[in-house]
Amino acid sequence: MAETKIKSTENSCNGIAIAAAISAMLGMIGLGLSAVLAEHSPAISAALQRLGQLWMPGAGGIGPYSGKETVAVIAWLGSWLVLHRLLGKREMNSALWTGIFVVGVLAAMMLIWPPMWHFFS
């Protein structure tokens, strides 16, 4: 164990790490929700395509997928900015938030599994 005995250089709270992980999870859930909604609503699918075409080169060629990516990026980076400010100086319950993160990632995986989309219709 001697190999891991390295002194701390600063005393940081775990809120920064929790914010990074939870925002990644929110980005994934954003992607999953936009995939489900686009599957069931042509209007949302068209709106997502227009959203992607606002900034992504070649977005016209990949359809609403560009908008789903945009939603995911906004949900991920936007929530990271907010959560970093909110949780950055806090010591969080790691077990609880890691559990929330795992459940959220599994939920996002379920949302992007196409056979599940029909359960929402």
Binding site: M1, I6, A20, G27, G61, S66, A95
Partner: protein, 202 residues
């Protein structure tokens, strides 16, 4: 060190250096010859997107190698027996960059995949094997995107906390989990991408 000893060292090291130089020159010549004469267009295949498709596969293959190393280091981190912590910081950054590049090239080749022509891979699958597109490809194109936030979050935490992270079990567990999930998402996307390409390349 005497003058004679210095001369002796010089005479011993020079042949080694010159040999390395000769090998490098030969390697350079071989690479230049291959680049100038090999019919790369034939191996890439026809089509405007052949190069983008090759780049997507190449970067995904690099990512497979590096994310496997990252998974091993994540296991060492999880068990608190990591020696190469700076390597893990570097590799987590590399997998983030490679994930981003592979996603960009993936977006690019998605254009010919879903092109509104009768011979596009999507049209072919919908006509002959609809489940391949509707289940496996759709899942692949989404789960591949998961790799970026997972690897970026892991890299950010590793750099932000530095070696302080080694003394915090909760953060070690979280980073290990992020890298494990990154590996799982990536290998699913890689495997499905290889399978779909085998059935119908762009």
């Amino acid at each position: 060190m005497s003058s004679n000893q210095e001369n002796l060292n010089h005479h011993q090291s020079w042949p080694t250096r010159s040999l390395i130089l000769v090998v490098l020159v030969f390697l350079l010549l071989a690479i230049v010859t291959i680049l100038l004469t090999a019919p790369f267009a034939a191996i890439l295949g026809p089509g405007t997107y052949a190069l983008a498709g090759a780049a997507h596969g190449l970067f995904a293959f690099f990512l497979l190698i590096v994310s496997t190393i990252a998974l091993y280091l994540a296991f060492r981190l999880f068990t608190n027996r990591i020696k190469a912590f700076p390597d893990l910081q570097l590799i987590s950054t590399v997998i983030s960059v490679l994930s981003f590049i592979a996603i960009c090239f993936g977006n690019w080749i998605y254009i010919p995949y879903r092109a509104a022509t009768s011979n596009s891979p999507k049209a072919y699958f919908l006509a002959n094997m609809p489940e391949v597109h509707r289940v496996f490809f759709e899942f692949k194109e989404y789960i591949a995107l998961f790799t970026l936030p997972l690897s970026v979050a892991a890299a950010f935490i590793l750099w932000r906390y530095g070696k302080e992270l080694l003394e915090r079990r909760d953060l070690r567990n979280l980073v290990s989990l992020l890298l494990l999930l990154h590996f799982i998402c990536f290998t699913i996307a890689f495997g499905l991408g290889a399978a779909v390409t085998k059935l119908r390349p762009i």
